[in-house]
Each structure stands twice: as structure tokens, then as C-alpha cells.
């Protein structure tokens, strides 16, 4: 096993990786920006190297600095964590070229899944449905009409160059297709200087369901069940749970089989997540994340599998330490993302922590790099803590979430704790009755 691992990340995920290393007897090197000199992952690591100034592009995204830090500390391997360089194929290549092990999949797999078009094609090749659509720009309304019949209504018309909802229209039936098509094309031209649009089946109330997989590239592939990450605001997940309250056993078996079959065919090695939209008992592949995910702990809670440990093992050429038959999905788990932001306005709230006390007791896990006196810097992601709850059932888990949120003390900054408390009291959430649009409406209700 590796003797020394450099952790090319910061915050709670750097601490998460440090903990897995320590428990395997591996020495750790923390790299950090000047803004993070007092961060917890720096304090706990065996060695630390300052790699640049506060802006991420000069430090956590600074590939030469990270490789130099690995060289001067004599690290064997580099764990990229989440975000930053974790899905950067060029970085993975350079890590290998400089004689270190990249703790993640091959750069080929990073590249394949890093491009939405090739990723969707790969999924289709493996027999996984994607959202039906036009596969490219549509020339005119006649072609659109023909394609739409094949895709099925309602139809979403989207600007090819688009984003942010502009150049986007929904046609509920054929009757409204022509007008919607014309409007979307006109908006697309106005907004992006390009009138090209494409078509896609419109999903009105999908859930975001993802499957955690682990593979060793030696034939070993397992899934750790699915996660329901539908509670999102501006495409940022706020709360994740497993199992999904929406799936039945047959759907669960189907989607996990889709994921493991694809990963096996891919010859993938590492941790990964296949993300799907789910509506009316159908799953549509969106993308594959070829790295650790923020919400990985809930899968750990219901399986007992240490995902980071397995990442380290397979990166070192070892097989997975379990087979699918060893994995029992037990109980229910929820993760509350605690962000340094106002729970109503979502205004970022960096600053000094004046008091900190994490909840404890049965079924409560806290992954956080916060401590009293720590200054949350304004330069990075606002995630400062993950409160992870485990219970024998969903109701017990939600009750535990309430009592743990009640105990959690973080003062000096605003956090999303009050938002999670409102959520825990909300009938739709308690009933598991939500889709990817639900949270936006819920938070809007609280806004002045």
C-alpha cells in the first residue's frame, strides 16, 4: 500500500481523505493556499505544503505547484478529492507522467465521461436509456414535427448554444410545437446569436437518482445502492438520502443493474456515480461522475463500506475488498449539507466561527473541518459541514436529523441549518414527495 498520499483538495473532503489514510497507516501531505494555512486538514496532516495564494486557480488548480509539492515531499500518490482537479484528464495524465499514482480512474475514462456527448453515447452503447431527443440541431419545423413524434410529447425545445433557461420552450402537444419552436429559435438568436435548437423529451417532475459504484478494473464491480439527490437549488444538492423514498425494489434492482453492467463493460477502475433522471418508473442517464462525491457518506452509512479506503485499494492495484453478495443495504441515511450561507437569502457568509459544537450520539456522523476560531475564507465553495444521519428506517432517520440539527452549534456565520430544520418539518419532505423542482418552490416561499 502507498506510504504517503498527497491530498490535492481542502475543507471537509481533504479531512475525509486524511482520515481514510490514517486508518490505513498511510502518511498524508496536505497542500493548501495561503488562505488555508490554519485549516484542519493542514493541522492534522503529517506534512503540509503551501502551494499558492488564495485564488483556487493559483493553488488548488495549480498543477505544477501540486506536482512539485508531491515531488519535494516524496508522495507516492495523489488523491484529487471532489471538484478542483478531480475530473481533469490532463492532470491525471501528468500525475502519472511524473511517477505518481492518480487516485481515480484512467484519464481515458475521465475524458470519455467528462464530455456530455461521448458520455451519453457510451451510455446508449451500454444499453442505458438517455432522455430521448434530436441528437443535434433541428433544421426546421417540419423536421421538428417528425422527430417529436418519435421522441414523444411533451417536448422541450432548447437552444443549442444555450443555458440559463433562455431559448427554452415546452410544447405540451403537437398543436403548440410550431409556435414553441419559432419562439425558442428567436430567443436563441437574440440571446446567443445562434438560432439553432434541439429537441428533448420534457420531464416535468423528475427525481435525481444516482447509483454509487466501485470497480477494481479486475472484474470486481459492486454498487452501494442508489441515492436520491432531488433536493436541489440552482443545480446544487442540499440534502441527499438513501434509499430513495420513490423507488420500489424492482426499480432499484433495475437501475443498479444498469449501472454495474455499464461499469463492468467499461472496464472502469475506481469509485464512480451514474446519475439518472427518474420519472414514471423510467430512468434516463444524465452523466457519470468519475470521482468521489460529496454525498458519498450516506452510501457508507447503509453499507458499512469505506468508499475512500476502496479508492485507495484499487488505485494501488488491489481488488475490491468485497463482492456484491457481501453488501447488505441496512436502514436509511440522510446527508444535510451545511453551507456558510444565509438560509433564506442564500447570501454567502464567510467569517470567523465564534462557537462550534457538533452533535453526537447514535447514528450521527459529522464530516466537517470547522473548529472554534476558524475563519471560513470567502474564496471557495460554501460547504462547511456534512451532517449525516443513519437510522433503522426513514422516519427514525428524520427524527434523528431534527434532534441533531437542534444540537448543532455554529455561530459567527450564517448557515443552512435553519433551512434543514424547516425541511424536516415539511409534510412533502416527510412524505418523500418531491422532485428536482420542489426545493426551488419551497425556498421561494420563505423569501420576503
Amino acid at each position: 500500500m502507498f506510504e504517503k498520499v498527497l491530498i490535492a483538495n481542502r475543507g471537509e473532503i481533504a479531512l475525509r481523505i486524511h482520515r481514510a489514510c490514517r486508518e490505513m497507516g498511510i502518511r498524508t501531505v496536505a497542500v493548501h493556499s495561503t488562505a488555508d494555512a490554519n485549516a484542519m486538514h493542514v493541522r492534522l496532516a503529517d506534512e503540509s505544503v503551501c502551494i499558492g495564494p488564495a485564488p483556487a486557480r493559483d493553488s488548488y488548480l495549480n498543477i505544477p505547484a501540486i506536482l512539485s509539492a508531491a515531488a519535494i515531499t516524496g508522495a507516492d500518490a495523489i488523491h484529487p478529492g471532489v471538484g478542483f482537479l478531480s475530473e481533469n484528464a490532463r492532470f491525471a495524465n501528468m500525475v502519472a507522467e511524473h511517477g505518481f499514482v492518480f487516485i481515480g480512474p484512467t484519464s481515458e475514462h475521465l475524458r470519455l465521461m467528462g464530455d456530455k456527448v461521448t458520455a451519453k453515447q457510451a451510455a446508449r452503447d451500454f444499453g442505458i436509456p438517455t432522455v430521448p431527443g434530436s441528437d443535434g440541431a433541428v433544421a426546421d419545423i417540419d423536421e421538428a414535427r417528425k422527430l417529436a413524434d418519435g421522441i414523444g410529447y411533451p417536448i422541450l425545445i432548447k437552444a443549442a448554444a444555450g443555458g440559463g433557461g433562455r431559448g427554452m420552450r415546452v410544447a405540451a402537444t403537437e398543436a403548440s410545437l410550431a409556435e414553441a419552436f419559432a419562439t425558442a429559435a428567436a430567443e436563441a438568436r437574440a440571446a446567443f446569436g445562434n438560432p439553432q435548437v434541439y429537441l428533448e423529451r420534457y420531464l416535468g417532475r423528475p427525481r435525481h437518482i444516482e447509483v454509487q459504484i466501485l470497480a477494481d478494473g479486475q472484474g470486481g464491480v459492486v454498487h452501494l445502492g442508489e441515492r436520491d439527490c432531488s433536493l436541489q437549488r440552482k443545480h446544487q444538492k442540499l440534502l441527499e438520502e438513501t434509499p430513495s423514498p420513490a423507488l420500489n425494489a424492482g426499480e432499484r434492482a433495475m437501475v443498479t443493474k444498469l449501472a454495474t453492467d455499464a461499469v463492468a463493460q467499461l472496464g472502469y477502475c475506481g469509485a464512480g456515480t451514474l446519475e439518472f433522471l427518474y420519472q414514471d418508473s423510467a430512468f434516463f442517464f444524465i452523466e457519470m461522475n468519475t470521482r468521489l462525491q460529496v454525498e458519498h457518506p450516506i452510501s457508507e452509512m447503509v453499507t458499512g463500506v469505506d468508499i475512500v479506503r476502496e479508492q485507495l485499494r484499487v488505485a494501488d492495484g488491489l481488488p475490491l475488498s468485497m463482492r456484491q453478495s457481501d453488501i447488505v443495504l441496512s436502514g436509511h441515511a440522510i446527508e444535510c449539507r451545511i453551507n456558510a450561507e444565509n438560509s433564506v437569502s442564500f447570501r454567502p457568509s464567510p467569517g470567523q466561527i465564534t462557537a462550534y459544537l457538533a452533535p453526537g450520539g447514535l447514528g450521527v456522523r459529522v464530516d466537517s473541518a470547522l473548529y472554534e476560531g476558524y475563519i471560513v475564507p470567502p474564496h471557495y465553495d460554501s460547504l462547511v459541514a456534512k451532517l449525516i444521519l443513519h437510522g433503522t428506517g426513514r422516519n427514525e432517520c428524520i427524527m434523528r436529523m431534527r434532534r441533531a440539527l437542534e444540537e448543532y452549534v455554529i455561530t459567527g456565520i450564517d448557515t443552512t441549518i435553519p433551512l434543514h430544520q424547516r425541511l424536516a418539518a415539511e409534510p412533502d419532505f416527510i412524505d418523500g414527495n418531491y422532485d428536482v423542482h420542489w426545493l426551488e418552490r419551497f425556498v421561494a416561499r420563505a423569501q420576503p
Partner: protein
């Protein structure tokens, strides 16, 4: 370690003492921790590696990193890498204590990613202190030398 490299007295003395011990009992590495300070000295065939990292915390209170002890006129490392005081192992050092340097003159080299980066004097001045040893790994923002 020669006397003409005056590190911060406490750190310098500590490193010197440990380096002497390293020689004395013929080791390749010593780690030493006291309170919040930890020093590791190691010697490969080529260079002596000195990594200073915070010790496992006694308390999560803001501590002063060693790099914060810096006199005015300190030139700091613009990148992570390995520092060299001379253009090659057999050559004379670029500068020595007491030298007067002109703006733009090479002070030392930082090797990063196999590239030798010449670190030039940002202004004219007299070399009051050299805070690093030849072949030593350095981190970003680490004090290298003091120009008066």
C-alpha cells in the same frame, strides 16, 4: 550546516542540532516535535530536506506558522519547489551574506517540474540573510532571503 545561513535563531539552532545529530549517529531522518512546532530533518545523498509542518494539534487555536516570522525586506518563494543557491553543484553560490546586489540579478534558483526558475532581485540591496539551504524543498510564500 555552515554558520553563514542564519535561519530564525530558534529554528536554525534546532535544525542545526538535529542535523549534527543526524551525522553523529548516522541517520537519514529525524523528526522532532514540541508543542505546536515540528521539524523533520532528512539527508539523502544529494540534499538535506527540511519540512516544517504543524504538529498534530493540541488545540484548534490559530497558530503562527514559522513562515510568519519574517523581517522587513524578506524575499519570499513565488512557487513550490527545490531551492538551489548555485547554478550547478560545483559552482560558487550566486550570492553570499553581505553581498550588494543590483535589481534583476539572480539570487537563487527554484526548481519546479524540472524547470530551473531564476529568482531575480526585485530591487538593489545588501543580502542581510539567506534563510534556505542548498537543495532544500520550499513551499509557496516561504521566506528565502532578506535584502536590506
Amino acid at each position: 550546516m555552515p554558520d553563514e545561513k542564519p535561519l530564525d535563531p530558534t529554528v536554525g539552532d534546532l535544525v542545526r542540532a538535529l542535523a549534527a545529530l543526524l551525522d553523529e549517529v548516522n541517520l537519514s531522518e529525524i523528526e522532532y516535535a514540541q508543542g505546536e512546532r515540528r521539524v523533520r530533518v532528512a539527508r539523502n545523498t544529494a540534499a538535506t530536506s527540511v519540512t516544517v509542518a504543524p504538529a498534530p494539534i493540541a488545540a484548534p487555536v490559530a497558530h503562527t506558522p514559522l513562515s510568519a516570522i519574517e523581517p522587513a525586506g524578506t524575499i519570499k518563494a513565488p512557487m513550490v519547489g527545490t531551492v538551489y543557491l548555485a547554478p550547478n553543484p560545483d559552482a560558487a553560490p550566486f550570492i553570499k551574506i553581505g553581498d550588494t546586489v543590483r535589481e534583476g540579478q539572480t539570487l537563487l534558483i527554484v526548481e519546479a517540474m524540472k524547470v530551473m526558475n531564476h529568482i531575480a532581485a526585485p530591487r538593489a540591496g545588501r543580502v542581510a540573510a539567506i534563510l534556505v539551504a542548498d537543495g532544500m524543498p520550499i513551499e509557496y510564500d516561504q521566506p528565502l532571503l532578506v535584502l536590506e
